[in-house]
């Protein structure tokens, strides 16, 4: 890009052709006040705080939209500009209710900061204060239009960064407000609750019920780390006051990894399930009774060695949630298979693992999980096939990636799902096969994309016309990526997975022969569990406890509340250990409950969807005496030495 030279405030500064004046100022450390400008969003010059004087322009112009040109002479600070900026502030302060003492954002507000900077100790205008409604029906977010300055940052964030475009302006003039969809309450709209609008809001117009009145960002401790919840690995910045985590932001929403979802932003602030605070052991009356962790560990070690001695190693089994950290999963496998000598260990998503592996091997006996590409590859694709996945529900950030690829890169999206067109506004087409017919549709497609005839197959539910269209899209594409998720995995159908890989391999002129696939797995650390063999390669252990004659079962749930909700404690089991953060239904049936910290309390290592390892730091200190899961498990192993 061509370099240009401008004179700003009497100094010669450099910029690039195509920059705005504001970008040149920011690159050269010249501070220009802004409100509606946010890095990563299209500038719209709505607030007029960034006005500057440009030589030969009749009036001040907004720096955020004024193109920088070689030789421009610009003033960013002078008496006239300061006067106008204060005037703009006074108008914003008087239009709606911006009295800080009434506002949740006071002390953490960009408008307030500018009021201080421009010494706005009074306003010259009467308050307009149209009585506007407050929308507080959403689970996490409140929109108070009375605090809104109509900068549109939330709207542009929702549209350009998140890609759902739930928010936009409604009405005109005095009545202008931010609305969701066609003026629905936010909680009943297409909002995916990612909270990006809340972070974008410069005032108290959009705030979070989970953070309000709990702390202010400028007065708190910040911890930046990576979210381990779904395996995408978004960067998070936690705000902590008095060891209470009260807010999670994205460190930089303008970055590729700057998105967050409802799980990452609000999940750790919404732990409403009762916590397991101490170890517990069942007493003679069959009730769980709190005890010290050491006591519980002794009981576990004693019991397990009895089972091993009297019933053999095969009477002991271990089941883990793939939400646990890599260290915990590894220690768990070492304990069950090494120390206790049992082959009966598995994860709750083991069925998915076995189906995926079988499916891949049938596609190519030499292939393995390494065929998976990083999620960011979506941005290099011009065709995306989304099969059996509803990313905005399970992996919302992946949904945003797909939408951005469709909108910005003009990628064609094909949705394959028997029930829902999950991204109706963005899908080029929706292939809606009859239930259980996905594999046949994919095989037919693989044949036709590979050069064979387009054959109508009435049993699949897909007509010739659609098949032809899909063939054309997939055949013409340069780079195709197939994204599949729960809808495919839960079928535990290896043939369906093979069909996906076969289609991935024939489509895309540039990546022909290569199966570029992203698997949206059910748990955050599934990939580690699958890679490291904690998931059982042979059979489901949970489904075969009775058949295998299991007497003692050790379940590692960590902070996965829902991990074992559909697992019933099997009949004939003599001893159940549950290691968990929450008093889950299964934990209530246990003989020994061992406490787990949550990820925000210990951090740990995890693997992302594509297998790359991440290290997660803790955000808060755990309760006194709480041990990381791997430490608790190692303590049991130690007692066998």
């Amino acid at each position: 890009m061509k370099e240009i030279t401008l004179t700003i405030d009497g100094k010669q500064v450099k910029g690039k052709e195509g920059d705005t004046v504001l970008e040149v100022c920011e690159a050269n450390g010249i501070n220009v006040p802004t409100l509606c400008h946010m890095k990563g969003l299209t500038d719209v010059a709505a607030c007029r705080m960034c006005i500057v004087e440009v030589e030969r322009e009749r009036r001040p112009v907004p720096a955020c939209t004024y193109p920088a040109r070689d030789g421009l002479v610009i003033q960013t600070q002078n008496e006239k500009l300061e006067k106008y900026r204060r005037l703009v502030l006074e108008i914003m302060f008087t239009e709606r209710n911006h009295l800080c003492a009434q506002c949740v954002a006071s002390g953490d507000c960009e408008l307030q900061k500018l009021g201080y900077r421009y010494q706005m100790d009074s306003t010259r205008y009467p308050y307009a204060w149209p009585a506007l409604p407050i929308d507080s029906q959403h689970e996490y977010l409140v929109i108070d239009h009375n605090r809104c300055i109509l900068c549109g940052r939330c709207i542009r964030t929702c549209n350009e960064i998140v890609g759902v475009h739930t928010l936009d302006f409604g009405y005109r003039g005095w009545k202008d407000v931010v609305v969701a969809d066609l003026n629905q309450p936010l909680g009943k709209s297409t909002c995916i609750s990612c909270g990006a609008c809340f972070q974008a809001c410069p005032t108290g117009a959009i705030y979070s019920k989970k953070s309000a009145y709990k702390g202010k960002r400028p007065e708190s401790k910040e911890v930046t780390t990576v979210c381990p919840i779904c395996g995408i690995g978004c960067a998070v910045k936690g705000f902590v006051k008095s060891n209470i985590l009260f807010r999670i932001d994205s460190p930089d929403p303008s970055q590729h990894d700057g998105l967050l979802c409802y799980m990452g932003r609000f999940g750790p602030l919404s732990q409403d399930h009762p916590r397991v605070k101490t170890a517990m052991v069942k007493n003679a009356q069959g009730k769980l009774e709190p005890c010290s962790v050491n006591e519980a560990l002794e009981t576990v070690a004693k019991k397990l060695s009895q089972f091993k001695a009297h019933n053999g190693s095969g009477s002991i089994a271990g089941l883990a949630s793939s939400q646990a950290s890599s260290q915990a999963l590894k220690a768990f496998k070492d304990l069950i298979s090494g120390t206790l000598g049992s082959k009966l260990f598995d994860t709750f998503d083991g069925d998915e693992y076995r189906a995926v592996m079988k499916g891949i091997k049938a596609f190519d006996s030499k292939a393995d999980l390494k065929t998976e590409v990083p999620l960011e590859e979506i941005f290099n694709a011009d065709c995306i096939l989304l099969a059996g996945a509803n990313p905005f529900d399970t992996h919302p950030v992946a949904g945003s990636y797909i939408v951005r690829a469709v909108r910005k890169n003009k990628a064609k999206l094909i949705v394959l799902d028997p029930a829902h067109n999950v991204l109706p506004e963005y899908a080029a087409m929706w292939l809606k096969p009859k239930k259980g017919q996905e594999a046949s549709v994919l095989s037919n497609l693989a044949k036709s994309v590979g050069g064979g005839p387009v054959k109508e197959d009435a049993t699949t539910g897909i007509g010739q016309k659609e098949l032809k269209e899909a063939t054309q899209i997939l055949g013409k594409a340069k780079r195709t990526i197939i994204v599949y998720g729960g809808g495919v995995l839960q079928q535990k159908n290896a043939a369906l997975i093979t069909a996906l890989y076969k289609l991935a391999a024939v489509s895309g002129t540039e990546n022909k022969g290569k199966a570029d696939v992203v698997v949206l797995k059910s748990k955050g650390n599934s990939r580690f569990a699958w890679d490291s063999g904690v998931s059982n390669g042979t059979e489901s252990i949970a489904a075969n406890l009775a058949k295998n004659g299991v007497k003692a079962l050790y379940v590692l749930l960590a902070d996965d509340y829902a991990g074992a909700n559909d697992v019933a404690a099997p009949k004939g089991l003599d001893f159940l250990i549950v290691q968990t953060s929450y008093l889950t239904p299964l934990a209530q049936k246990a003989d020994v409950v061992l406490p787990s910290p949550t990820w925000t309390e210990t951090g740990g290592n995890f693997s992302l969807l594509d297998g790359s390892p991440i290290s997660v730091s803790r955000l808060v200190k755990p309760a006194e005496g709480t041990r990381a899961d791997w430490e608790t498990i190692s303590e049991i192993a130690r007692r066998f030495k």
Partner: protein
């Protein structure tokens, strides 16, 4: 040198600004050498003499407050507003977005602890204005010390500037809206 005469009033507010004034601690000794306090909520003098500086805490929400404020303005050369209520309306102005009659009904009849409530009327109590107003919506104000309450240091800064013959404008680091 003759002392500067000061009168202050407390309108619709919480007295926090006057409390913050008392928080200037030992500085009040030097100030007392330069300033003579006439009518203030602290001295409990009821009549206004002619003064150099009038100080107002609180917003204007009823007929009495309006009258007291106009009276103060008529008796002072310079009028200084203390705190968010006087400068902007403050917490008191929360009712401005509601209908006045609805506010009275909620407070005197519908409030949970009230039995057989009645809305009080003038002349027993002053009549409420439709909206709660910042002081400069009613009379001319010469200078402002915002904050809820303003820090003692900001209050002292305002008075010292006046004594030095300047109209105070708080520097950015002393500005507070809450």
């Amino acid at each position: 040198m003759a002392k500067v005469k000061v009168a202050s009033v407390w309108l619709e507010g919480c007295s926090g600004c006057h409390m913050s004034f008392l928080d200037i601690d030992a500085a009040i000794i030097d100030l007392a050498n330069a300033i003579e306090f006439t009518r203030t909520p602290i001295t409990d003098i009821k009549e206004f003499p002619q003064v150099d500086v009038g100080i107002v805490e609180g917003s204007v929400g009823n007929a009495e407050e309006e009258e007291v404020l106009k009276d103060l303005r008529a008796h002072c050369k310079i009028l200084m507003a203390w705190g968010d209520c006087a400068c902007f309306g403050g917490v008191c102005a929360m009712r401005s977005s509601l209908d006045k009659d609805e506010v009275l009904r909620r407070a005197y009849i519908e409030s949970e602890s009230t039995v057989n409530g009645k809305i009080p009327h003038p002349p027993g109590v002053p009549a409420l204005l439709d909206k709660v107003l910042p002081v400069n919506n009613v009379v001319k104000v010469d200078c402002y010390v915002p904050g809820c309450p303003p820090e003692a240091s900001a209050i002292l800064y305002g008075l010292k500037e006046l004594l030095a013959g300047r109209l105070p404008v708080l520097p950015p680091d002393m500005m507070r809206f809450d």
